[in-house]
């Protein structure tokens, strides 16, 4: 840290800017690739917003002006008032470059930004925001900025208001303080007579107190403006029995005996104006009584000199900035570590006094080349092995960081200590590195989608159907491993859509549909996952037939009442295949249950929604990476386990009366008017044989891929954490009920639960164990 705290903060600011601009670019590129997730947009907004906030404090006006326009557009996007489309993203990327240049210029590490270039982009952003550039941009931007910048010195009274403790019921005319001698105030508009003071009637609403505002403090503030006398009307106070402690009953009348500006009086009530009834009346000299001043505030500077000279002098930002700039300038002149303002980057040959002209030419030519290169995406080819080594190292980094955090936490250091604070920053940074590294492995799904037109042609020929394949979102990126494993389920589902979904040309014609059927394959990002949709405009699911087949195979009982969606999703059950005659195409004994299982093995979900006569949509959603998982760390039978966060609906401590035993054996929990089976995790995982005390633990309500709910009974919930997934199969062997393993902050290995298997075996086991007990 430098000796001058202000300089040190400024250095921090530029360092932070670098990180923020990096974030901004990463997120804009994500937007460009089709990830229009609200969190991505928010992250962009926050980055620009933080740059602007800091820049404002240092008086970096050019930077603020540009960031302000940028931020305004980002705000439109995040509020959804403006859609994120290709044009917008391209403008944002250009704006991000200019913002970068502004920061570099402000730091003194680069040339000033060409005003025309900056202004052109401001106009471009404003056109996107408002539909047209804001006329007279410069003047307007400055006006706009007043809101944020308008530093008007605050009037502070040096009168120490001595009677502070007696405030609530004070009556202070006796103090007889002279009115402050204030120069030419913008007096409120009053007719006749000279104004001598104010009468204020103030009735707080309960909300005022709920937000931790205090009448006494407001009176103290008024007291700083001049001598006041206060009357309290407690006639609204009910009897003690009828008293509602959170209600507000008192009304205050304050006489302020000083002809201060109305704005100053209103300013005291600034924080509470919507949480109280307030009337402010001016008091006339002739005793003409009070006249209510209109509510509209005079649009004038309050123009008061700052009386609090001590603090003001010490904190005069403008002076500090001037000082800082002078300092920078002198360092620049002295040719310190900072690069001179308008010099092109030196090539290694440049410092030589008699540099050959060729080298000099190279140096100057390099700059524009680098500038143009920045606009086109530059790529390098890297061996996959190197990337994977990096990913492994980052995984270890995440674990190490968590271990460090845990040690520090255990050492009893306060969460607000410098070390904890640094660790929090480190955690954010580590996550960022992890995200960036994962992004290296990301690939567009194009490689898989490209293979599909041929498949569709083949299947169409085999089935004698006319099919048009429409694809969308080929550029959507996802981890390489996921891309590779997408091919099989997509192939299967496309076959299925053409074979079972689409009608024959004759049937289509009879139904009044175009002879050619359409199958659409689309990829998109949604809430941190990739979603693949396969839709067709065929006949949709024949629910009656699905239902009767399911009953035939004993998958449902005839008396079960199922919603349309539930019926549709029956096709994913093992042992279900609707193909009455086995066809060459999709009826190879591979049912939709296999598709579902292969998607689940990638941590994904699949569902169908069907509209009879109109078609079906299969939706599968998969995690973007198979390397990390957001999990809930829980304890059961002295073991530490991780439950995937995506499966958890909520957690609760069950009340004894909510737990019932069905048939005296199966424990179920009454959860939101519904009985869910309880699975004792410690027992099901065979960590112990005895069932746990049902009433002592914590229950996590989970939902399986099939939409089935269950309550997992654990001893304790330790908290939410992102964990690095380590394969158990690779390092040991497959274990029933365990999806993978991870290493926790304290260095221990924790198993990641396979919720679906756990819920199903858990129910069987709990039942059989109970039966065993009954029998013995």
């Amino acid at each position: 840290m430098s000796d001058d705290p202000f300089e040190a903060i400024k250095a921090t600011f530029f360092q932070e800017c670098e990180e923020l601009l990096g974030d901004l670019e990463t997120n804009l590129i994500a937007l460009e690739s089709g990830d229009t997730d609200i969190e991505t947009i928010n992250a962009c907004f926050r980055a620009v917003h933080s740059v602007k906030g800091g820049a404002g404090a240092f008086g970096l006006d050019d930077l603020v002006r540009f960031a302000h326009v940028f931020e305004t557009l980002m705000d439109e996007l995040r509020s959804g008032r403006k859609a994120v489309d290709e044009d917008v993203v391209q403008s944002l990327l250009r704006a991000s470059d200019v913002l970068n240049d502004h920061v570099t210029a402000a730091r003194g590490a680069g040339p000033a930004v060409d005003p025309d270039r900056s202004q052109a982009l401001i106009a471009e952003l404003e056109t996107l925001t408002h539909g047209a550039p804001v006329s007279g941009t410069d003047a307007d931007a400055a006006g706009d900025m007043d809101d944020d910048f308008g530093f008007t010195p605050v009037a502070l009274s040096l009168d120490d208001f001595g009677a502070g403790e007696a405030m609530p019921l004070m009556d202070l005319p006796a103090l007889d303080l002279p009115p402050l001698d204030l120069p030419s105030l913008d007096a409120p508009v009053v007719t006749g007579g000279e104004q001598t003071g104010w009468k204020i009637i103030f009735r707080p609403h309960p909300r005022l107190y709920a937000n931790a505002n205090e009448t006494a403090l407001l009176l103290r503030e008024l007291g700083r403006l001049g001598p006041i006398s206060v009357e309290m009307d407690d006639s609204g106070l009910p009897s003690l029995e009828a008293l509602e402690p959170l209600d507000s009953h008192l009304v205050w009348t304050i006489h302020l005996d000083a002809p201060v500006a109305e704005l100053d009086v209103r300013d005291v009530f600034d924080f509470v104006e919507t949480d109280c009834d307030l009337s402010i009346m001016s008091v006339m000299a002739e005793g003409a009584g009070a006249s209510v001043v209109s509510d509209s505030l005079p649009d004038l500077d309050d123009g008061l000199p700052s009386l609090d000279t001590g603090a003001a002098a010490e904190f005069d930002i403008a002076a500090l900035v001037a000082m800082a700039q002078a300092d920078t300038a002198s360092r620049l002149g002295g040719g310190g570590e900072t690069a001179p303002v308008a010099e092109t980057p030196k090539s290694t040959a440049a410092p030589a006094p008699a540099a050959p002209p060729v080298a000099a030419n190279n140096a100057t030519a390099a700059a524009p080349a680098a500038a143009s290169a920045a606009t086109a995406p530059v790529t390098i080819r890297v061996e996959l092995d190197r990337v994977d080594r990096l990913i492994n190292a980052v995984g270890e980094l995440v674990i190490q960081q968590a271990m460090l955090a845990q040690r520090v936490y255990e050492s009893g250091l306060a969460r607000s200590s410098d070390i904890s604070l640094g660790l929090e920053d480190l955690e954010l940074l580590t996550r960022e590195i992890q995200d960036s590294v994962m992004a290296i492995r990301a690939q567009p799904v194009k490689s898989v989608f490209q293979r599909m037109p041929r498949l569709v042609r083949e299947v169409a020929a085999m089935t004698g159907k006319k099919v048009k394949l429409v694809t969308a979102g080929e550029d959507t990126e996802v981890d390489k491993t996921v891309v590779e494993r997408l091919s099989e389920p997509i192939t299967h589902m496309l076959r299925n859509a053409i074979d079972h979904g689409l009608e024959s040309p004759e049937e289509r014609e009879a139904a009044g549909k175009p002879v050619e059927g359409t199958v659409k394959l689309a990829a998109l990002h949604r809430s941190g996952r990739i979603v693949i949709e396969i839709s067709d405009d065929g006949k949709g699911i024949n629910r009656q037939r699905v239902r009767s087949i399911a009953e035939e195979r004993g998958l449902v009982t005839p008396d079960q009442i199922l919603s349309d969606d539930e019926v549709d999703n029956l096709i994913f059950l093992p042992g279900f295949s609707t193909a009455q005659e086995v066809t060459d195409v999709s009826g190879r004994g591979v049912g939709m249950d296999v598709v579902r299982r292969s998607i689940q093995s990638l941590g994904g979900r699949i569902s169908i929604s069907s509209n009879p006569g109109k078609g079906s949509i299969f939706t599968m959603s998969l995690p973007l990476t198979l390397a990390v998982l957001d999990g809930m760390v829980v304890g059961a039978a002295d073991q530490t386990l991780v439950a995937p966060l995506a499966a958890i609906v909520e957690s609760l401590t069950p009340k004894a009366e909510d737990i019932h035993l069905v048939g005296g054996v199966d424990p179920v929990l009454m959860f939101r008017d519904e009985f869910v089976p309880l699975v004792d995790v410690g027992q099901t995982m065979e960590f112990r044989n005895e069932p746990t005390e049902l009433k002592g633990g914590v229950v996590m309500i989970v939902e399986t891929e099939g939409g089935q709910r269950a309550g997992l009974l654990v001893d304790a919930i330790h908290g939410q954490r992102q964990v690095v997934i380590k394969s158990l199969e690779t390092n040991y062997r497959h274990v029933e009920g365990v999806a993978a393993a991870t290493i926790l902050g304290d260095g221990r290995v924790a198993l990641i639960l396979d919720i679906d298997v756990l819920v199903n075996t858990g129910r069987r086991r709990t039942t059989s164990l109970a039966e065993l007990k009954m029998a013995s």
Binding site: A8, R46, G53, G56, A212, E214, I317, R415, L428
Partner: protein, 121 residues
């Protein structure tokens, strides 16, 4: 007795500036990097006054204030919202969440300290 102010902001620059201004005005300062961390520090340090940013990752200022007001232990702790967004809707949302007042960024230290003093008993 020295009062403790908790500042919640994801920007290091802002945290440092607040620290500088508040320390100079005689306050003890503790910090948090976002709403989630803020709630943790709140429980640990029991500050007398809280200043929070609105736009933060993980949990924003509104969520933080709501979380804080949901606990009766902090119902009387004044919260000032620190934001460049000075529009009425933002202020209203902050008020709805339970904010006591606000400070418009970029703040000048005098105004900051004045606002803190105004809500501090």
């Amino acid at each position: 007795m020295t009062k403790t102010v908790l500042t919640v902001d994801d920007s290091r620059t802002m945290r440092d500036m607040l620290m500088l201004a508040l320390k100079d005005a005689g306050y003890n300062v503790v910090q948090a990097v976002d709403g989630v961390h803020g709630l943790e520090v709140l429980a640990e340090e029991r500050p007398d006054i809280v200043i929070t940013d609105i736009n933060m990752p993980r949990m924003d200022g509104f969520g933080f204030i709501e979380g804080m007001r949901a606990d009766p232990a902090y119902s009387g702790v004044p919260v000032l919202v620190l934001t460049t967004e000075s529009d009425a809707a933002k202020k209203q949302r902050a008020r709805d969440a339970g904010a006591t007042g606000w400070i418009v960024k970029p703040f000048d230290p005098v105004r900051l300290v004045d606002a803190v003093r105004r809500v501090a008993a």
